[in-house]
Amino acid sequence: MSSILSLCVPALGATTPLILGRVDAVLCKTRFEKTRDSVQIALAEVLNNVIEHGYRDASAGSVAVNLSDENGVLRIMVTDWGHAYPDHAVPDSTLPDPTEMSEGGYGWFLIKTLMTDVTYERQLGANHLSLRLAV
């Protein structure tokens, strides 16, 4: 396993594009270049969830993003110190019926559809969400 990128920044709406920009710039130079769009979409949803749910009572908190190469599989680990996920599990993700014109409920669907594997762990007051994407 080799580290590609490791950063820890405030989880704010304003920092999300900066995190995504850093990740995109780094992925450009790796064998995961073709996963860039999927990573941008999925990681944006994860970061939004951290801000809207994890730190819903706080003005701000930290989020750590780690990218690594696990024998050809891209692994993205996102850690925050906010509220635990409901039921300590990755939420269900059924795609809303398009004809119902739902204004929400797409986030986890996009994450799970774009990533090969999504796992969640609550440990020592932190949320660890691990995304894997096989090329």
Binding site: G13, T16, Q40, A44, N48, L95, P98, M101, E103, L110
Partner: protein, 112 residues
């Protein structure tokens, strides 16, 4: 959020002059769209040529913009860039909106 409007013979083209429609601006986008569609009838074409990125909040705001239209108004989309196209395709919202390759195409096409 920067929206500008061009009146063409067949449609009002609403250009999004921003590179992202995401969580921090989704609500403002929805309100700006409401303001722009309080009057007029017929086709509104949302030109997304400049928009490189959309998240689920932005998608929700575009859907809301469609839902808040009055009768006699219609919202279509144009110039979806790769990530935007992917989000609409994966969520199957591309089956709900009429989507044009460019805003110019949309201005020429007659409404179905």
């Amino acid at each position: 959020m920067e929206l500008s409007v061009d009146q063409t013979p067949h449609a009002q083209i609403i250009r999004v002059n921003a590179s992202r429609i995401d969580a921090p601006i989704a609500l403002q986008f929805k309100e700006d769209m409401r303001a722009l569609t309080t009057e007029g009838e017929g086709r509104f074409v949302l030109d997304l040529k400049e928009v490189e990125f959309i998240d689920s909040s932005g998608l929700g705001a575009v859907v809301a913009s469609m839902k808040q239209l009055r009768s006699g108004q219609k919202l279509e989309l144009a110039a979806l860039q790769p990530i935007v196209e992917k989000v609409f395709r994966l969520t199957r919202m591309d089956s709900v909106f009429t989507i044009h390759d460019t805003a110019d195409d949309a201005g020429v096409d007659e409404a179905n």
